[in-house]
Symmetry: C2
Subunit: 169 residues, 2 copies
DNA sequence: AATATCTTTCAATTTATTTTGAAAGTTCAG
DNA sequence: CTGAACTTTCAAAATAAATTGAAAGATATT
């Protein structure tokens, strides 16, 4: 398989997978393109290679920069901006995990915590108990999940590999 | 706060959060409703309480049963079906993790594995190297991630808590 | 300060996803 | 077998999300 075919396959698959991950297709495609490209690319090159509009390219490059997955570069003598993706997979995974934690875990923590503190009134005791128990369990669970994810976000690869993987067998 | 308000708040928040998780709003709302209800509910009751259509209720109940989060019950003498959600949070989390793994990790594994085996041809050596390195790293990473998730799916709460949490501090 | 080059914005459009509800299907009691 | 009670299906409608592209905004160059 030649390089261009392979790249295309990767970019397309990554784009589709991204949507399963709650990341939009274009964003993941741009990320994929930059991941497999040895040099930084301009917005122009990106829109040409992926066949997408200027606005779309711009918006998603910014999203990728917000996530910390892509950075801007300036080439001497060149007017335009160039973009490249961080190539360290653990770093990338940590950053994605961080963003997902913000969106997926923290809001649960917030709501559940709030409800957990409330005093619930009503006449159906069985229902109140079930409610309280559910919220309490959820609260405990979320706190644990959150702290595990935190550890991963702060970990370095070696630590994570050694500690976790060796124990997890 | 009275029980109905609290339930409503939980159901609505859970519904919104679900969408961040790639689960549709109705599906998470039904799940939330069943989680905080002490007795099993009929489709009729669910559609009334959530103000959603019959079709929508049916489809999402089936999705929840596919995920293993909800089960059908029959009450003696009653013709209709009743639904209840498993109340064990770790079990619930494991099941959700399993479904997400199928959608989010396994497809990556598949594509990356495939690309990893390919021989890439072309004239730009630097580009080929970058491509191969990216895919290789991604492959290694995904395999590790996958195996950690597998451990979680198979774990019981105590094991996970003791082993992981104590080490992760 | 005029012009050329590049980036950003955003209303309108397109595409994708979810929801509805009526009709068809199923099951069971009499 | 018939009809009432319930469940499932699915095309059409509604809603939500992503994308476009032209216009406005920057910024550097002469």
């Amino acid at each position: 398989m030649n390089l261009d075919e392979a790249k295309l396959k990767f970019i397309n698959s990554w784009g589709t997978l991204g949507s399963q991950w709650g990341i939009n297709r274009t964003m993941s495609q741009i990320h994929a393109l930059l991941l497999v490209s040895s040099k930084a690319l301009s917005a122009e090159e990106i829109m040409e290679q992926l066949g997408i509009s200027r606005g779309n390219t711009n918006m998603n490059l910014h999203a990728l920069m917000d996530w910390g997955l892509v950075s801007k570069e300036f080439k001497p003598g060149e007017r335009k901006e160039f973009f490249s993706a961080g190539k360290d997979m653990w770093e990338t995974a940590r950053k994605i995990t961080y963003e997902r934690k913000k969106r997926e875990i923290e809001p649960i923590l917030q709501v559940v915590n709030e409800l957990n503190k409330e005093t619930i009134t009503g006449d159906n005791n069985e229902e109140i108990e079930t409610f309280k128990k559910t919220i309490e369990d959820l609260n405990k669970f979320t706190i644990k999940a959150n702290s595990i994810v935190d550890k991963f976000i702060k970990s370095d690869e070696n630590w994570f590999y050694k500690t976790l993987m060796s124990i997890l067998k």
